[in-house]
């Protein structure tokens, strides 16, 4: 059913001066879903989101966002989308209350005063509403921005790294709020670099150098990668990792805290490859790979593709 897709776009492409930054990306996000949008720096996440809400003109692509044509009807899309920019983009020389009031007016929110007051209360900024936005700490700016994005009751929220620089407690609160809103039927497209946040998403997509490499639920994404992973603990992991990387069947050997994750795409050949190293004082354990193993793998692959 068409209606159940909040975002349904195909072939979205953006070039900056001949360089293709988003390359034919298809994305389907269901209504009420929390969709994670991941990828290394410069992979085109922000650019893609900007095209969705009409901030950048797409060079190619088609589809619908909230049922409106993503290319031609961005005026309608804008009214029902809350876009939280990666960089704080509210007015630093306006106070918290003035910023919220401005946004509410711009969207023609009915019961503006009430909406602004409730938004401030929900933020827990009651005592500081007169403070200038520019004087807020980074984390508080993020919270203000989120509150401002929600004030006009949008149907779709495009959040570009909303939790960058936010402390763990606030991040937890933030995600609880998102879950609650998603339960009410709001749709979220969220970019993040945090693995724990990626794991909280219903589904995710991974973008690299403008290409969509994989997507699906966390389990699907992991399964698609076809990785076998061993976790190693013991002394001198750094030296061990260096030697392991020389084996052709070892795709990656990555430090995870005090452990080393060694991954390969063929279980049997990986086991053969690591056999010579399993003699020392190291403890080896076959584990199921996590998202981070997969993403590191994807990043490595993408670089290969790029240099071809």
């Amino acid at each position: 059913m068409m209606d159940s897709l909040a975002i349904d776009v195909r072939g979205m492409t953006k070039r900056f001066g001949g360089r293709t930054v988003v390359n034919g990306v298809d994305l389907q996000v269901k209504t009420g879903e929390v969709y994670g949008f991941l990828g290394p720096n410069g992979s085109g996440k922000t650019t893609f989101i900007r095209m969705l809400c009409g901030l950048l003109a797409a060079d190619a692509g088609e589809g619908a966002c909230l049922g409106f044509d993503v290319i031609r009807e961005s005026a309608f899309i804008k009214r029902q989308v809350g876009y939280m920019t990666q960089r704080f983009s509210f007015y630093e020389d306006l106070s918290i209350a003035e910023n919220l009031d401005f946004v509410a007016r711009m969207y023609g929110v009915s019961n503006r005063r009430t909406a602004v007051r409730e938004s401030i209360d929900r933020l827990g900024l009651g005592g500081r509403q007169k403070q200038l936005a520019g004087e807020l700490s980074g984390g508080w700016k993020q919270r203000l921005a989120l509150a401002a994005c929600l004030i006009h009751n949008p149907r779709l929220l495009l959040l570009d790294e909303p939790t960058a620089g936010v402390d763990p407690k606030a991040r937890r609160d933030f995600w609880e709020q998102i879950r609650e809103l998603a339960g009410q039927g709001l749709t979220f497209l969220i970019t993040t670099h945090y693995m724990d946040e990626a794991e909280r998403c219903d589904r995710l997509a991974y973008l690299s150098y403008g290409n969509l490499l994989t997507r699906g639920t966390v389990a699907e994404v992991i399964a698609h990668a076809h990785l076998t992973t061993w976790s190693v603990s013991g002394p001198e992991l750094h030296a061990l990792a260096r030697r392991l990387r020389e084996c052709p069947d070892v795709i990656q050997a990555v430090a995870f805290g005090a452990r080393l994750h060694v991954s390969g795409s063929d279980a049997q050949r990986l086991e053969q490859a690591i056999a010579p190293f399993r003699t020392g004082s190291h403890v080896w354990q076959n584990i199921s790979p996590g998202l981070e193993d997969v993403f590191i793998h994807l990043m490595g692959n993408a670089k290969d593709n790029f240099s071809e």
């Binding site: 901030l55 876009y83 920019t85 003035e98 009031d101 946004v103 711009m106």
Partner: protein, 381 residues
């Protein structure tokens, strides 16, 4: 299907309110807005109000009668003229004037005393360097009476009849270099237009580029807003700023410079509204064209220069070559100067004002239309 959002008064109002608050917080800019008319008045005011005295004067004295001497004493006592040197020949006098060593050359010709007593009304020649007419105006104005009263003291008894009628001497003043001479009253009203041109264009010139550079444009563009709402929303609050400047200058013109105000002040205020809007529109359009604040400043400057040079503020409009006049006719300042001088000094009314005012309006509309057209609705370059 109409995919455009209709114009919304509420959004327009949101922007107006926001701009007002930002303006209030931006002390530096606000200080500049008050400071610019202040400084300009001060600078130009010295030239106008100075009523300069002790102007360096050379004397070419070819007569040694007592009458010549007492004339010179009278000139000296007036404090306008300070005799800094004596020249012997016409060409020496000419050179001193040309170099700017002296402001005046006073020539008392041969046989001045004899001819005076004969009742021949001998000539006294006063040559003035009138490149800056405000510098020489008062001194020249005082000459006639000065000479008359000086000689009245000498021409007593049977000679008293010489002082009657046209006066005992024939005073000839040559205003050199700038024979028309701009009246000082021209300058202060003109200053109003110059100050407004400078500040209004600059203020809005930065308006859009500032949003871009601070990153707030991304947010503004993600909201459902129309270019006209943004542009007008940014123009309106600055009208008040313009009126503050108008008020400052008119008050100073009246109280400090005693500029006569024959015409209607409300009419001036109405014209000022149109003129302010025209300049704000010019600025906001620059703002949509410029890539950054520096470019916006440069554009402002390129607009300001011809405005001040070709509008008739600096040079008499009719004295300019035709091509310069053509450019001048396009500029709002040209028409504003004509209106303001006409209303204040000549007492012009609506009929005369309309002739110039529609040209300012046309300018504003065209420029704003370009701005709306060029306003970028996306973040694309």
């Amino acid at each position: 299907m109409n995919t455009r959002t209709p114009l919304s008064f509420e959004r327009f109002r949101a922007i107006v309110i926001k701009e007002f608050v930002q303006m209030r917080r931006d002390r530096l800019t606000f200080g500049m807005i008050i400071g610019i008319p202040f400084i300009q008045l001060l600078l130009f005011g010295f030239a106008i109000n100075g009523d300069p005295k002790h102007l360096p004067t050379a004397v070419l004295l070819a007569d040694n009668s007592q009458y010549g001497t007492s004339l010179l004493v009278a000139l000296k006592n007036s404090n306008y003229f300070e005799f800094v040197r004596e020249v012997r020949t016409e060409s020496e006098a000419e050179a001193a004037l040309a170099r700017g060593d002296v402001q005046f050359v006073v020539t008392i010709p041969e046989n001045f005393g004899r001819n005076l007593l004969r009742g021949d009304r001998p000539a006294i020649l006063v040559e003035a360097d009138a490149t800056d007419p405000t510098a020489t105006g008062n001194a020249i104005a005082s000459l006639q009476t000065l000479i008359k009263s000086a000689l009245q003291r000498d021409l007593t008894g049977p000679l008293a009849y010489l002082a009657e009628g046209e006066g005992p001497v024939n005073l000839r003043v040559h205003a050199r270099y700038n024979p028309e001479g701009i009246s000082q009253y021209n300058i202060v009203p003109g200053l109003m237009g110059v100050v407004l041109t400078m500040t209004m264009v600059m203020i809005t010139g930065l308006a859009i580029t500032r949003e871009r550079e601070r990153g707030t444009m991304e947010n503004l563009l993600s909201m459902p807003t129309r270019p006209l709402e943004v542009l007008l929303g940014k123009i309106i609050p600055n009208i008040f700023v313009g009126y503050i400047q108008v008020g400052l200058i008119l008050t100073a013109a009246r109280l400090i410079f005693h500029v006569p105000m024959i015409g209607s002040i409300p009419l001036i205020l109405l014209v000022a509204l149109v003129f302010i809007i025209a300049n704000l529109a010019m600025g906001i359009t620059f703002s949509t064209l410029a890539k950054n604040q520096l470019q916006a400043m440069q554009m402002t400057f390129f607009f300001f220069l011809p405005s001040i040079l070709l509008s008739g503020f600096m040079f008499p409009f009719r004295g300019m070559p035709e091509w310069a006049q053509c450019i001048g006719e396009v500029l709002p300042l040209t028409h504003f100067l004509r209106i303001v001088r006409g209303v204040l000094l000549k007492g012009n009314g609506c009929a005369e004002v309309i002739l110039q005012l529609w040209q300012i309006m046309l300018f504003a509309i065209i420029v704003l239309a370009v701005g709306v057209k060029r306003y970028r609705k996306t973040l694309d370059e």
